[in-house]
């Protein structure tokens, strides 16, 4: 089947098999390798990306279902101007990762979570933990990840609120 999918502002027009998963399209067709496959059972969240602005698990979507969609992966958060996205900065500064396998999914889940917050609302620690319940990390014990998302929230409130 022919699909047309935009990933990180680049359009991919190509034929795919009906049973191809979106995560395989991202990794093998678009050759973007930041998005990981951890479980392939909708559990770990390592494959989390933004689909039309919302976090989804790309191992549980067919590429054909994403025809016409606008997708952002971790690579898409880098604008190329030498500065890092606030959420990525915060993960670095808070040491919100160890092996890094979950990190791409964690960052995308955090970006989606923070962009869903109404103006003026500040997420509590509990809300952050709940918002990340779809992402597993086998290294950090989560504390530094939660700290990173809190810091990212502070950075976003202090600076420009634009995250995409």
């Amino acid at each position: 089947m022919k699909v047309s999918i935009v990933i990180n502002q680049q359009r991919y027009d190509t034929e795919v098999a009906s049973n191809m998963l979106l995560v395989d399209f991202i990794r093998d067709v678009a050759k973007l390798k930041a998005t990981n496959v951890g479980c392939d059972t909708t559990t770990c969240g390592a494959c989390t990306i933004l689909l039309n602005g919302e976090s989804v698990k790309s191992c549980t979507i067919l590429a054909v279902q994403a025809d016409g969609a606008d997708i952002v992966t971790l690579e898409g958060l880098y604008t190329g101007d030498g500065t890092l996205h606030p959420v990525v900065q915060a993960f670095g500064r808070s040491h919100g990762l160890q092996c890094g396998f979950c990190t791409s999914g964690m960052v995308m889940a955090a970006v989606s979570l923070l962009s869903s917050v109404a103006d003026g609302q500040v997420l509590t620690e509990d809300e952050i933990r709940n918002g990340l319940e779809g992402n597993l990390c086998r290294c950090t014990g989560y504390q530094n990840i939660v700290n990173a998302v809190k810091l990212a929230q502070d950075l976003l409130i202090a600076g420009d609120n634009i995250i995409s």
Binding site: N19, T42, E54, S55, T60, L62, A109, E133, G134
Partner: protein, 270 residues
């Protein structure tokens, strides 16, 4: 990884979707795919044609009709809180939907899929049964309605025919004291046991989650429940047939149900 290929169709209208279903014997509907794709990966379902109903705008509306709220089957779990009528009249749905899976699952999963799947652990199906809802089904010949009580037949088995699509789910508004109880082992997880309650006049209607091979419903007289808890509990127990698995024994599931009912009674003393 999904092993077998199929024909994929994404109709724009309900008519087109119903034509596709009637043209091919071996079709499957996909809504959010959050239950179906995991089954496809496990090789537990196979079909020639997959009909994606996500582009059909007619399935995405929420409206009040007489004393019912009618919710289009393609309304996602995360969308429910965006409708004023659901916030004011059916807040129990939002409470339940906000605890399904995780944000990623809630961004894809739909109310129609949750009701249609027939999974005994479906929280929304428990609510559908407790609130005495009904599903509006359409095929090429017309539409029909099935009440929640008659809808569930067995594990992943419902009264839905192969050529039918759930257009909407109707929830009546004449209930009171709707409550939701759920115990799961981890964040994001399904219920080990769950209960939704709704009060209709002098009866309490129960939607039982993970207490049998499919969603179960049972109604008890309020006076019996409060005056004669043990024998009333026995009558509830007799309709349940929970499994024993790595998460819980049968007895632990019954224990949870007992705790849920006591929790309801403490919250709503008479």
């Amino acid at each position: 990884m999904i092993l077998s290929e199929f024909t994929y169709k994404k109709p724009k209208s309900l008519e087109e979707a119903l034509d596709l279903l009637s043209d091919t014997d071996d079709s499957k509907i996909i809504a959010g795919g959050q239950s179906l794709i995991p089954l496809m990966k496990m090789g537990l379902t196979g079909f020639e044609q997959l009909v994606d109903i996500s582009q059909i705008t007619d399935l995405k509306s929420v409206k009040v009709v007489d004393d019912f709220v009618e919710i289009g089957s393609m309304v996602r779990h995360c969308d429910l809180e965006n409708y004023d009528v659901i916030v004011s009249r059916l807040p129990i749905l939002i409470k339940i939907a906000s605890q399904i899976g995780d944000p990623q699952v809630r961004h894809r999963g739909t109310i129609g899929g949750a009701i249609a799947h027939g999974d005994p652990a479906s929280d929304l199906a428990g609510c559908f049964v407790a609130l005495k809802g009904s599903v509006v089904l359409s095929n090429k010949k017309g539409i029909r309605e099935i009440s929640a009580n008659d809808f569930y037949k067995g594990f992943l088995e419902t009264g839905l025919n192969d050529d039918e699509i759930i257009v909407s789910i109707k929830f009546p508004l004449n209930f009171r004291d709707a409550e939701f109880f759920k115990v799961s082992k981890r964040a994001q997880d399904w219920a080990i046991s769950g209960l939704v309650t709704a009060k209709f006049k002098d009866e309490l209607n129960l939607g039982l989650i993970s207490m049998g091979s499919t969603t179960l419903g049972v109604s008890v007289r309020i006076s019996d429940l409060y005056d004669n808890f043990e024998s009333t509990f026995e009558s509830i127990e007799s309709v349940c047939s929970p499994t024993q698995d790595i998460y819980a024994t049968k007895n632990f599931r019954f224990h949870l149900l007992r705790v849920f009912l006591r929790g309801y009674m403490n919250k709503h003393p008479i």
